[in-house]
Amino acid sequence: MIEPVLASRLQFALTTIVHIVFPVMSMGLAPFLVVFTWKEIRGGPPVYEQLRRFWTKIFAVSFVVGTVTGIVLEFEFGTNFAAFSTFAGELFGGPLAVEGMMAFMLEATFLGIFVFGRERVSDRLFFVSSLAVAAGTWLSAVWILIANSWMQTPRGYELVTEGGQTTVHLTDAFAAYLNPRFGFMYVHMQNAAVESVALFMAGVAAYYVFRHHVWGYPVQEVGFWETTLKIALVALVITAPLQVLHGDLYARHVFETQPQKFAAMEAVWETDSYVPEYIVAFPTSIADLTDPRAKELFGIGIPGGASWLASGGDPQATITGLNEFEDSPPVAIVFWSFRAMVGLGFWFILLGFWGVYRWWRGELLEDDLLHKALMVSTPLGILAVELGWIVTEVGRQPWVVQGVLKTSEGVSPGLTSAEATATLAGFVLVYAGLLSLYTYVVARIVRAGPPTRSELTAVTTGERAAPLPGAEAVDDD
């Protein structure tokens, strides 16, 4: 039996870690689909219809799995974190309700038209549907990140105690909901989604390009994959440098507003100036290897690097150490996740410029090492997003609302170990199955490839598959 606090935290971590994969896919694909649809209805080359149809399949699967795992999140605040929900519901519930009405509704209704309605609606309404779906996915992130950013840097509230129950009361909506953290998070998240999808597209396309041009196996519709690769590289070379640039600004903002999290990201225990930026660091004693809070570290780093990052250019700047705070997050998890994320970020920049350089030299289709690097990197964008969220969420522990409410105080008071352990076990099983199933289905879609050019003509000239026997025009009952 696992005690309710730990079980609830593990379960919520698992729910979010699995769920975020699907919004990343749908938010990242959405702008591509808008462009493909626009090109298609404006009579662009037929490859755009192929692109639209192929990537819509992956979007649709991601959206469905995102819906069913997203509802779980909304319910889990109540089931597992009832004390938090009662305490902070006045500020936290509103954004979730508005997200449902403003964003999710827009997305889910127009997705019906976008996925099923090509034959039924005009080109114009079809294009509007693609825009509405994209707007819905991106608005969804606005409200979710408004809610999350408030937990990171809470403002615009007061604590009120009535009848023994302390709750948060909203006093200034602008301060609470438009807090500066939101902007940093939103830009970083949305750009990451597009970058992750660009990496995904590039990796899948590189596989087919590699098969055809390097191995010499004939690949159907290889032109489709070549176009996909080029589109993905353009997106990657734009988003990858941006991600690191505003990531740097975001980290500086964290240093100013959540010094405890920043200290954990850099594993700084004693307040110091001229703090090095460790590339790697290890505990100095064997026993500390398994302790995520180990204090004695041996590291290799850039002198003054962390101070330089925190202050935006001053290697002498002082960083407040973790010893100044009462509690600290598990430092190793935050420290390593941050390093891995940043490392991946630089790797993506390298990949983007490498690909574009080869393309410019006319060698894009022959560079097998580039193809392999892209294939390996297919899921790494999503991995980087996961690592970033681990830094964000583990880094603010032990607080659920930074400096206001501890995570352990937010768990449902009536929850028993038996219940919490049972659902946690269920989650591990169901979500492992869900991820496998999603991977399997996406792999099948990729293996089947895009619709061929001849299938496209059949659609545009109005020919259809044989009518379904159950749907004959009989109207006599």
């Binding site: 469905v64 799995v65 819906t67 109540g78 009832a82 006045e90 508005v98 009405m101 602008f174 159950g470």
Partner: protein
């Protein structure tokens, strides 16, 4: 308007706490009506062996179900936002039941998508079964949850709750059959008519049993049960059920569908009427005590007043685009 005046009291002096309580049940009713017919379609899917008929049922709900399910998301969000203590209390008290609902919805949502991914028999049989199981258990657990909410039950399984769960399943068959008759031509329609009619009879019978069970087992609700609103809503339900049978027989499918909707909203209104002025009987928490302070309440009210009309326009566009029967060649 400044934050100051928005914070001082309810907007225009409106009884916003009561209005949000009503809105909450309206949202839940809309979910139960719209996603309810998807659940019903899933239950009716079980009666079909023919591959083409199964595909047609999936194609009929394909463009709609996801949007319909979002009403449940909005319900959860609205309950959380307007009455956070009620949201927290209810969801944590019925902990395992909430995950049962989520599990059923997960299976139901995933199944049609998976069903279409492969066309071999074993795969489709397995996901077909999953679709039916998810579509039947989701409304059952939802009915159980709502009944437990109303009774202030501390355990997740109650006699009245089980009967209400079964009644809600029957209700989804009523609306599901009417919806599919609107969307499907061909021999299947005659069977759908029968199932819809059986559904109405079963639903009304189960409601009577449920009221009896509540009367017998829940002394707290007994006084409210023998009242004018209850009698009125039961009368409306009986009239709508009778109307459904008549319309169904005369092949007035659209009228039958609307009357199915009346049954759903009557049921949800009955629950709301029995609850009011309490929002969580288990703790005796009233609507007035549970509601958030004026500033967030006013902001949310403005948001909902602006957004809900837009939401209805999206649904109008969606249902307009797919009006009429499923066409040959359309698949999930």
């Amino acid at each position: 308007m400044t934050d100051g005046s928005l914070a001082s009291g309810p907007l225009f002096g409106l009884p916003l706490a009561e209005l949000w309580f009503a809105l909450l049940f309206f949202i839940f009713g809309t979910f139960l009506f719209l996603d309810g017919f998807d659940f019903g379609a899933g239950a009716l899917f079980a009666t079909r062996e023919d591959e083409a008929e199964r595909e047609t049922i999936l194609a009929a709900i394909g463009p709609f179900w996801d949007g319909n399910e979002v009403w449940l998301v909005v319900f959860g969000g609205a309950l959380f936002a307007a009455f956070p203590a009620a949201y927290a209390g209810l969801f944590s008290r019925h902990y395992l039941l909430m995950f049962a609902i989520l599990g059923a919805l997960l299976v139901r949502g995933l199944a049609p998508e998976m069903y279409e991914q492969r066309h071999d028999e074993r795969w489709q049989r397995a996901w077909g079964v999953a679709f039916v199981v998810g579509s039947v258990t989701a409304p059952f657990f939802l009915g159980l949850f709502v009944a437990n909410w109303l009774l202030g039950a501390s355990s997740s399984v109650t006699l009245a709750g089980v009967v209400v769960g079964l009644a809600v399943v029957a209700l989804t068959v009523v609306t599901g059959a009417a919806f599919l008759r609107l969307k499907i031509r061909g021999a299947l329609r005659a069977d759908l008519r029968r199932y819809g009619e059986y559904g109405v009879v079963a639903y009304l019978a189960l409601v009577v049993v449920a009221l009896g069970a509540i009367y017998a087992t829940a002394p707290g609700v007994r006084a409210d049960l023998v009242s004018l609103p209850t009698a009125g809503l039961v009368a409306v339900s009986v009239a709508a059920g009778g109307g459904y049978l008549l319309a169904s027989r005369r092949d007035a499918v659209y009228a039958a569908f609307v009357l199915g909707g009346v049954l759903v909203y009557a049921l949800v209104t009955l629950v709301a009427a029995l609850l009011f002025p309490v929002v969580d009987p288990a703790t005796g928490l009233t609507v007035r005590a549970a509601v958030v302070s004026p500033l967030p309440l006013n902001l949310m009210s403005i948001g909902a007043a602006l957004l809900l009309p837009l939401v209805f326009s999206y649904f109008a566009v969606l249902y307009g685009a797919f009006s009429g029967p499923v066409e040959a060649g359309e698949a999930y």
